[in-house]
């Protein structure tokens, strides 16, 4: 058995161990690989930078724990930029776990002297998906009587400046899909189409390609996809965070995956044998003088129209 045959039969646990090392070593000892700024991230940054200072923005935490690493770093990175422009933030969530992530991410605002209820608020979870978002867009107080911390929403200073979606200078959804929550399509319909509020998206890597179309059509002002986009955004804001820390590990892990894909394909082409017809195998058997009966030879297959034996 040559090296390629051994690679074809490699125990998958070896790959798991190599992958674990590829992630663990750069996490403990960062290499500091360069991070280039891509156009979608730069465009999003420039758009947020163009928002009026002191205005209000709406941020939807529409994701579950499995996608926290992709989306929470994006939220934190963009909060630094919003805070530098004294922009007020209203957070809400369509997933039950969303308000918890909102609380964690909103903590970065404290270093800018933001006060809860005046400069930012976590409204909490809303059930019902798109219809509820539509109702919120028309009258926010009709959906949230109390915020995540139990305060009367109508008494909060920040909410007195908001009577509909139109009062937000920008909406943003941090989104991992429509299953169980409000998806990106719903946000486009209710924020952009219904009220003309500019929208940006923070999405998981999986969703990037399918939502890029909204950016190309101009319906969405920017898109940030995954941890990579968070790292780029952190570089633009000058505030290093989880995204930057994770980029070395991501790059090394990707190199490992690509190496294994290439090796696996080379191995497949080298090891692959030309296919031999079952009938010819039977005929070439030494000592096989009598015609074999159907089913008597385990290597023979029934001849079916359009099948291998045709």
């Amino acid at each position: 058995m040559d090296i390629f045959e051994k690679l074809q039969n490699l125990d998958k646990r070896v790959f798991y161990i190599l992958m674990a090392l590829a992630i663990a070593i750069p996490t403990i000892n960062p290499i500091g690989l360069p991070i280039d700024i891509t156009k979608p991230v730069k465009d999003t940054f420039d758009f947020v930078q163009s928002l009026p200072d002191g205005s209000q923005v709406l941020i939807g935490f529409d994701y579950e724990p499995g996608d926290e690493i992709d989306l929470s770093p994006i939220a934190e990175a963009i909060f630094h930029q919003l805070a530098s422009k004294s922009i007020k933030i209203v957070a809400l969530a369509s997933y039950p776990a969303g308000p918890t992530f909102a609380e964690e991410c909103l903590e970065v605002l404290e270093e800018y002297g933001y006060k809860y209820g005046e400069d930012y608020v976590n409204l909490g979870h809303y059930a019902g998906g798109e219809p509820t978002l539509a109702a919120f867009a028309n009258d926010p107080l009709s959906i949230f009587a109390r915020d995540w911390r139990g305060n009367d929403v109508s008494s909060l200073a920040i909410m007195k400046q908001v009577s509909s979606m139109k009062d937000f200078s920008m909406a943003m959804t941090l989104n991992d899909g429509p299953t169980g929550g409000t998806g990106t399509h719903e946000w486009v319909r209710q924020a952009v189409m219904a009220h003309g509020t500019p929208l940006i998206m923070g999405v998981t890597g999986v969703m990037a390609a399918s939502n890029q179309t909204y950016v190309q059509s101009g319906q969405c002002k920017g898109i940030l996809a995954g941890l990579r986009a968070a790292a780029e955004y952190e570089k633009l804001t000058g505030k290093k965070g989880t995204g930057t820390v994770g980029m070395d590990a991501q790059s090394i892990a990707h190199i490992l995956i690509v190496a294994f894909v290439v090796l696996g394909n080379i191995g497949m082409f080298v090891v692959r044998r030309p296919r031999v017809q079952p009938a010819s195998i039977s005929a070439s058997k030494p000592g096989s003088n009598s015609p074999s009966k159907p089913g008597s030879d385990p290597s023979s297959k029934p001849v079916t129209p359009g099948g291998e034996g045709k």
Partner: protein, 198 residues
């Protein structure tokens, strides 16, 4: 190395290790953590759901917004499906939910997902990117013309369309791999940096 002393961090780290242990072999530790995860997720959903119900319906109703009794009672009808004699009643809130959802979605769906997307492909053909968008859309659409027999020309266009779609699927797959690696990075950061303090 400064190991965390927070009980929550310890539970999170041990749970993550328990989940990853299935990569070596299915084992009781993995099973236990898996069941805890499912149970905890359901528990959180119930608590947050009750909190949402209290904030958006019960509290405002108690404070005098009595019209909220109507949606609350209508919502309760969803549970009549557990009683054979009254199960037909659950169609009332279901049809209301379906109708409202469809109506709200239709408000912007045509413009955002049909008109907007089609108009985005009608680009000024002065750049290579624009040509790729224009031709890629046309060829990909030709792949789905199933109402007539594919001829020589349409055979070529649909094949090229298939290559365009494969490129799109490849991009989506690449992003998916990136997302999965990100998830692993998140857990490793938690275990190595937050738990073990390396």
């Amino acid at each position: 190395m400064k190991i965390s002393t927070e009980i929550g961090v310890w539970i999170g780290a041990l749970s993550a290790i328990g989940i990853y242990s299935v990569l070596i072999k299915d084992n009781p530790f993995y099973r236990m953590v898996e069941h805890i995860f499912v149970g905890a997720s359901a528990g959180i959903a119930v608590v947050v759901g009750l909190n949402t119900f209290n904030n958006t319906a019960w509290s405002p109703m108690v404070q005098g917004k009595y019209s909220l009794i109507i949606p609350m009672l209508t919502g309760l009808l969803l549970y009549t499906r557990y009683f054979q004699k009254f199960s037909w009643l659950n169609r009332i809130p279901l049809s209301f939910l379906m109708g409202t959802g469809a109506g709200v979605a239709m408000r912007g769906a045509v413009e955002s997902q049909i008109v907007g997307q089609i108009s985005a492909t009608m680009v000024n053909l002065n750049k290579l990117d624009s040509w790729i968008v224009f031709l890629g859309t046309g060829f990909s659409l030709s792949y789905f013309f199933l109402t007539y027999k594919t001829g020589k020309v349409t055979g070529y266009t649909s094949r090229i369309g298939r290559y365009f779609m494969m490129a799109a699927f490849g991009a989506a797959f690449g992003n998916t791999v990136m997302g999965r690696v990100s998830a692993a990075i998140g857990r490793f950061q938690f275990i190595l940096l937050k738990w073990l303090g390396l």
